[in-house]
């Protein structure tokens, strides 16, 4: 709210109050994350001691231990990266022609399309998980990266088409008509005229679909057992019948948080924009 600037005492108090509220919520948001970072340097005895230890001799052993607790940890990271990247590539490759075709040849309008996509989005993940599990089982594709990629594509493609459709609509059709007059084929127009205009939009769409795949827990939980496990699924390895390795779990959590924090530092602006164009422009 744009308050006219006043220098009265009331305004100063209001400002102090606002800062107090912001700081309180920031503490609430940050505390769990900070506590997990601190615990990642504790032994398991220190992790749950009462009262909690603020001062302790830090240990670094939890970090290398992650590689023991999670067998083939580097492969697990590779799975997460490959599944997110390949799935995103497939979605973009399918969404561009689909959105272009819908926009130029079947102009049903963003509202109608949005409604269709929304109803697809209402379909619970688990309701896709059952048929996909059986399909992958009969195709002998369980525990392969392919199966998780296919599940992610099935879930995210409608959303991808919807986002790309919105960006295609912003490319003026006159531009394409001019290219056609100059003797450019339909395909040539799409590749040389429309596609370059779409690139920023495709970037935003790709980032969002990659993030959805990176966060996905249920599909890899159902579809993988050993070779194709992704990062979210292996967190369960730290909890065994013999007790829980909290220090290890915290070290693992920190290791997954760092790449995301760096990535979002780079794409933060796209992220917010993508969320908004995807979520709000009806």
């Amino acid at each position: 709210m744009a308050e006219p600037v006043s220098r009265s005492a009331g305004a100063t108090w209001a400002k102090a109050g606002i800062y107090a509220l912001l700081v309180i919520y920031a503490l609430w948001t940050l505390f769990p994350i900070l506590w997990v970072i601190v615990t990642s340097f504790k032994t398991n005895v220190q992790a749950l001691s009462v009262p909690p230890k603020i001062l302790f001799t830090p240990t670094l052993s939890n970090y290398p231990d992650v590689f023991h607790t999670v067998s083939q940890f580097p492969d697990v990271i590779a799975n997460s990266v490959v599944i997110a990247a390949l799935g995103t590539a497939v979605i973009i490759l399918l969404a561009v022609p689909a959105a272009y075709g819908l926009s130029r040849f079947m102009p049903i309008g963003r509202h109608a399309l949005g409604f269709g996509i929304m109803s697809a989005r209402t379909f619970p993940t688990i309701a896709l998980g059952i048929p996909l599990f059986l399909l992958m089982q009969s195709a002998h594709l369980l525990d392969t990266r392919m199966s998780v990629i296919a599940a992610n594509v099935a879930f995210s493609l409608p959303f991808g088409i919807w986002m790309v459709y919105g960006f295609v609509e912003t490319v003026p059709i006159e531009l394409e008509e001019a290219a056609a007059l100059d003797g450019c084929s339909r395909m040539g127009t799409l590749l040389r005229v429309t596609l370059p205009q779409l690139l920023p939009g495709l970037g935003a769409t790709a980032i969002l679909t990659a993030i959805v795949a990176w966060r996905e827990y249920l599909f890899p939980l159902i579809l993988t057992t050993q070779n194709a496990r992704t990062l979210p699924v292996v967190a369960g390895n730290f909890i065994t019948d013999f007790g829980t390795d909290w220090g290890g779990l915290c070290a693992y959590a920190v290791m997954t948080i760092i790449p995301v924090a760096i990535f979002s530092g780079f794409v933060g602006k796209y992220l917010a924009r993508g969320f908004l164009s995807g979520a709000v422009k009806g």
Binding site: P52, P131, L134, A154, G268
Partner: protein, 275 residues
């Protein structure tokens, strides 16, 4: 093409829901059983308990996420010095992987964990987070912590789309802060509220990760959500027919709830406003 990737699994799922099919009794084969699986579920106390849990979680999370998100958006929108630092901090939970977040909180919620320690320092006493009631509350706390930033992002964008002169005019006319919020800001924010409520209702009704990791449905199966119930039926009892039937019921519930949200919250003159 859309038909291939999405409609085929959905159709197959509906087909499964009409059959008796158990992966641990494959020798029995698959028979068409009309709507028997659905009728069984409507008589199953576990279904009603899961539906109640999902409804409680959805209602409570919406009731907390919306006002907190709106409050923080209003505070940040004043663009006081340092607001971008706070915005970055507030967005952090949304960037974490939900499953990892849930495991993090499972650690904080241990009986001798830090959350109970803080409660004790406030003279509220330790809570045993593995009871039915406390288990559901823990799922609500974590889900709200994680998703307030989503409401915040959308509401911030909404506030930025409001013409500041409208408010300035009301200010000149003598409207106080609360009146301006009630009569100018809130009506203009309606489409943004609608989007947040619609998307969060869908996501909350099908909540799985947080419940599965934090409580595992326990004690017993008293804190299972709808998605967890489907998972238990299908992948613990291998009863694909019943699992599929519940998942279709769950999808219907989500569609009805979303339709209800759209009908009750749609802007009075109809139609959407782009930001």
């Amino acid at each position: 093409m859309l038909g291939g990737v999405l409609l085929y699994p959905i159709g197959y799922n509906i087909w499964l829901s009409l059959h008796s099919y158990n992966l641990s009794e494959l020798y029995l084969g698959e028979h068409f059983v009309w709507l028997h699986n659905y009728l069984d579920e409507l008589r199953d106390p576990y279904f009603w308990s899961a539906l109640r849990n999902s409804a409680i979680i959805t209602g409570s999370c919406l009731a907390l996420e919306l006002p907190i998100g709106m409050g923080l958006a209003l505070l940040l929108h004043r663009r006081l010095r340092g607001h971008s630092v706070f915005r970055f901090l507030f967005f952090l939970p949304l960037l974490l992987v939900p499953a990892v977040t849930a495991y993090m909180w499972r650690f904080l919620f241990q009986y001798t964990g830090v959350f109970n320690y803080l409660l004790q320092q406030l003279h509220l006493g330790r809570v045993n987070w593995s009871t039915t009631q406390a288990g559901i509350i823990s799922v609500i706390i974590v889900t709200v912590w994680e998703n307030v930033p989503f409401a915040l992002i959308v509401f911030l964008a909404g506030l930025q789309s409001i013409d500041p002169e409208l408010e300035a005019a009301a200010h000149v006319d003598g409207a106080d802060g609360l009146q301006r919020f009630r009569h100018i800001v809130l009506p203009l924010m309606r489409p943004f509220v609608l989007i947040v409520v619609a998307i969060r209702t869908m996501d909350l009704l099908r909540l799985f990760d947080e419940g599965y990791i934090l409580t595992g449905g326990g004690p017993g199966r008293t804190t299972e959500t709808l998605s967890q119930l489907v998972y238990t039926e299908t992948f613990t009892f291998f009863d694909v027919g019943h699992g599929a039937a519940i998942s279709i019921l769950e999808a219907l519930i989500v569609v009805l709830a979303t339709a209800f949200v759209f009908v009750t919250l749609r802007t009075r003159r109809g139609g959407w406003r782009s930001p």
